[in-house]
Structure formats: C-alpha cells, structure tokens
C-alpha cells in the first residue's frame, strides 16, 4: 500500500528533484497513513533518501539501465508498484520522467495527472491541483482509477526534511528485451553548466540586447548567481542563442526561485512559460514593457549600464557573504 516514488539519479547521485518528490510522497503517505517506498536505479548510496521521509528503498543495479530508457524504466516502476501494492505513484517533471510517465500510466492502468503543484485536496475523491493553459490557470483534476500516478511540478513543493531512517533492499525486476528496441546512440550534454531544468536562478535575455555578441554580460551575471542562461523566442528564432535556451509557452518552462529578464518585453506567451518562477526581476529601458506588470522587482534603465553594475554589486555581496 505504500506510496511509491521514483527518485532519479544522474551518474549515481540523486538529483535535487529526487528529494522534492520524496518529500511530496511523504506528504501523501501521511494523508493516507502509509509508508514511502522509493525506487532508485543505479544509485551509489541510497541512505540520503531517509532524510526526506523514505522508509524503504528498492535499489536496482543493472548495467542495461545505465542510459535512461522510457519503456524499461516504466517496466521497473510497474514491477515495484505491484510488489508494494502501491495505489499512489509519484514522479518528477524532468524530461525523463515526463517521457516515462504515460507509459507507466498505461502499464499500471493508472490515471495520470502531470504538473501537480500541491498535495491532494482530498483523498476520496482523489483530487489534485495542477497547472494548465501553460501556467495561465490551475486545474483541479480528479483521478478516478484505483492506482494514481502523479507528476509533480518542479519547485512546487520544496524539500521537507524528516528524520526517518530508510532501509535499502536489492530489487532485480525482469527486463524485457523489446524495451531496448530504442537505443541511445549519443548524448550531447554540456557538463559543468547549470541547466534550466535544475537551476534555482535563471538569467534570460531578449531582443533588447541587440545581438548575440552582447551575451557576455548575461553569462557573467548568470555565473555570479550560479544561474542558468535562457532567452526569449525571437532570440532563438534569429539564431542568436540555441533553441535549448528558449523559454516560454512553446519553449522550456521555467520554475526557478528567481527569474531575471533582461531586455524582454514580456509577451503573454513568454510570461506563461516563466510564470511558475517565484520571484521575477525585470530590467528594461521601456517603463511601459508589459513584463513590469508581472514582475516583483524592476529596474527601468539601459541594460548595458545596469547589468555590468549589477554584476559588480553582486560580486561584492558574494565576497561579503561568502
């Protein structure tokens, strides 16, 4: 009956979202008076999960699972859910989890609610709140199946520490060869750079920056803040920045703690994509830019003057608060 949670790893270490989904699963388990079981695939050390309320870890070690594979991973989770008799399964909103979740939903005959932002409003009927219309609204969804699958929005629940001790158990689910008919040929990932998906702070530039040659200060500001860099749609359409940096309704969603928009006017599609961020700082020379209406903090001024000064101020601040 325990709540099952998929705690993702990268190179053997848990991702931060793993602790967030574990915290959420603990919240659900408390509501329905049960325990939390996590599934960890090729994790070096699973003991850390106890801190976020996990009672038991099913630890899967298998070289065939070194690369993410949506069908094979869904198969592992299905077998874990059946073994535990889980009625609620929780996954994150990472690219991998969103890839896998619909497969798992069919395998478990579970109703799936993605982009969930809070603990269930009620247990029976089982209702959850999720974002819809690309963050322009919320939608209360009732999951009507016996088994429920929840995809938790990033940064929506946060980390909740619990002083539990988790026990680890080796778990060796059967793998189906047919699941490996899609194979990874290569992975192209910039190492050592904060990704938009994992970043707590995102620094984003728009057309107001006039050209790709002016991105040095955006990168420097991101560097000082430990942030990921992003851009508006026109900037990626014009090829100033790679598509992977495009945030907005048709690009990547951003749910950071702080979103810094430089020279972005704030079109409705852009705002929709970044709306889930907690604090928004806008730097723009046009006081009429619609983004100021959606911002928490604003500086009306020339980005080419404001940003370099802000970098200096932040460096001073970091030096004093190190």
């Amino acid at each position: 009956m325990s709540v099952l949670v998929y705690t993702e790893t990268e190179n053997g270490k848990f991702k931060k979202t793993a602790f967030e989904v574990a915290s959420y699963a603990k919240g659900v388990a408390d509501m329905i008076s049960t325990t939390v079981t996590a599934v960890a695939i090729n994790a070096d050390d699973t003991s850390e999960l106890g801190k976020y309320g996990v009672d038991k870890v099913l630890s899967v070690k298998n070289d065939k699972l070194n690369n993410f594979n949506a069908k094979a991973y869904a198969d592992v989770l299905k077998q874990a859910a059946e073994k535990e008799g889980s009625k609620v399964v929780v996954v994150s909103s990472s690219a991998d989890a969103k890839f896998m979740a619909p497969v798992l939903a069919i395998n478990l005959e579970a109703g799936y609610a993605s982009n969930v932002v809070a603990l269930p409003e009620s247990e029976s009927p089982f209702k959850v709140k999720r974002t819809a219309f690309t963050n322009k609204a919320f939608n209360i969804t009732e999951i009507t199946t016996d088994v429920k699958l929840i995809g938790l929005s990033k940064n929506a629940f946060g980390l909740k520490e619990n002083s539990a001790t988790s026990t680890a158990e080796d778990f060796s689910p059967a793998l189906n060869d047919a699941d490996f008919s899609t194979e990874v040929a290569s992975i192209d990932k910039v190492s050592g750079k904060v990704t938009i998906a994992d970043a707590e702070i995102v620094v984003s530039g728009g057309r107001g920056l006039k050209g790709p040659e002016n991105w040095g200060m955006v990168e420097e500001l991101a560097d000082v803040l430990g942030a990921a860099t992003a851009c508006s749609k026109p900037v990626s359409d014009m090829g100033w920045r790679p598509h992977g940096e495009h945030v907005g309704q048709t690009g990547k969603p951003v749910a950071a703690n702080l979103y810094v928009a430089i020279g972005i006017s704030g079109a409705i599609q852009h705002l929709a994509g970044i709306n889930a961020s907690k604090v928004k700082l806008v730097i723009n020379n046009d006081p009429e830019a619609p983004f100021f209406k959606a911002a928490d903090y604003g500086v009306v001024g020339d980005a080419f003057e404001v940003v370099p000064q802000l970098i200096e101020k932040l460096k001073e601040f970091k030096a004093n608060n190190a």
Partner: protein
C-alpha cells in the same frame, strides 16, 4: 511511409484564459483556435517527408464539429486527408485510446509533446504503449531510412540521439523544424483543402481515467517594486533580505 499527424485544436497562444459555468468550463468566447504549436512543428516535418521521401500524410483530431476548420488548415498546409473522431477530448487517456484505433495502420505517428491548453503531456506515450510502437518524446530531430529511424530528443541540459525502428510514435516540439519553416497556407492550398477527404468516425466506447473538475486563475500579482538604476545596492538588498533568493 504512412504518416499520421495528431492535431489538437487549442486556443491561440495570445488568448485570454477565462472560465464559465462556475469555473468548470473554458470560456471560448472571442477565442481564436489554432493547430497546437507542438503539433504544427510535427506537421511541417511530415510535409518534408512527403516532399522528399514520398510519404503520405493523414491528420487526425479528436473533437466535435467546431474543430473542422483546424483540420482544414492542416489540409491546406499539405496533408493528404483528415480524420475527425467525433468526440469531446475529455482526457489524455480517452484521446490516446481513440487515436490508437487509427494509429495502428501507420508507420510513423507524430504528435506534439503536449497541448498548450491542458498540458497533459501524455497522449504520445500512451498511444505508443497502446499500439506497442517505439516512442520518443521531446523530439527535436527526426530522420527515417526504410524501417530505421534516428530521433534526437531534448534532455535536461542537452540532447540525446536515439536509434529506433518503425512503427514509431514521437512527441514533437520546436526544433523538429525551425519556426521559419512553418507554412502559412496559400490560396491554392486552401482551395485544394476543400476537395480533400475529411472522414468523420465515431469514437469507440472508452472510459476516462481523470476528470477536470474545476479551474482557478492565479491570484492577481502585487505591484512591482521599482528600484532606481542608481541604487542597485538596494536591489541586491531586496533580493537577499526580502525575497531571500540570493
């Protein structure tokens, strides 16, 4: 190669989002509906396969009669024929079930990674699983040679190249083609679209697994706090002490 492109009929990205009937229904008043942007990138890639590799392209949508102009637009862009499954798309599972009935006759099924209205993000994966096809989500590049396909998917912080085979279902997005490759139907296309087949089929009986009960709009935003460009110390102070984000 037979390609099926799944089209969702969604409010234009600039739409104001409001609800009616005690916040239980989306208010379509004054809203312009379009091909879901993620699907349109896929449709445009399908057109490329049609032109370069002689593929045939069918578009399909689950929706009631008011969605037909959206399918006609897809025909005007160049799809060969359209199918409308005559039902309200009540949840992702229901839609995937309906599409699975049709999709089993195709080699390649292109859907968008998510619709921009409900953002469920589940139809491509469910459809692939129901039809036992290979599946790639967040697809930003796709080549097909005979039975073999190479798909690039966006991952957090980069991209991954996958080798797979047909039948294949992809969840597509921008990157499959460039924004500038999107086609605006010309007059000839629009005229031809009128003569193309648009088959209406009835849904197979199928249950839902979720139900949208109610909608809420986000709480109105407070006033922005403006800081003078000459006083950036204050900005750093606010971000640290008030917002607590640095």
């Amino acid at each position: 190669m037979k390609i099926l492109v799944c089209i969702s009929h969604v409010p234009d990205t600039t739409s104001k989002i409001n609800f009616t009937d005690g916040d239980t229904k989306f208010d379509t008043n004054g809203v312009q509906f379009v091909i879901n942007p993620n699907d349109e990138f896929g449709l445009t890639r399908a057109m490329w396969f049609k032109e370069k590799q002689g593929a045939t392209v069918t578009v399909v949508s689950v929706g009631e009669a008011e969605t037909e102009p959206t399918l006609r637009k897809a025909l005007a862009i160049g799809a060969d024929e359209a199918i409308r499954i005559n039902a309200k798309p009540t949840d992702g599972f229901f839609v995937a079930k309906q599409l699975a009935e049709i999709a089993k006759d195709y080699d390649l099924v292109i859907a968008g990674r998510e619709s921009i209205d409900y953002n469920g993000g589940m139809v491509p994966g469910m459809l692939a699983t129901l039809t036992n096809a290979n599946y790639v989500n967040n697809c930003i590049g796709l080549e097909v040679e005979g039975e073999n396909a190479t798909a690039i998917r966006e991952i957090d912080g980069g991209k991954e190249t996958l080798k797979t085979t047909l039948p294949l279902v992809i969840g597509g997005q921008k990157g499959l083609v460039e924004e500038s490759d999107l086609k605006i139907p010309n007059m000839r296309g629009i005229m031809m679209a009128r003569k193309k087949t648009l088959n209406v089929v009835e849904p197979t009986d199928s249950a839902n697994t979720t139900q949208a009960v109610k909608f809420e709009k986000p709480a109105p935003k407070g006033e922005v706090k403006l800081v003078s460009p000459d006083n950036l110390d204050e900005l750093v102070n606010l971000l640290h002490n008030e917002a607590k984000v640095i």
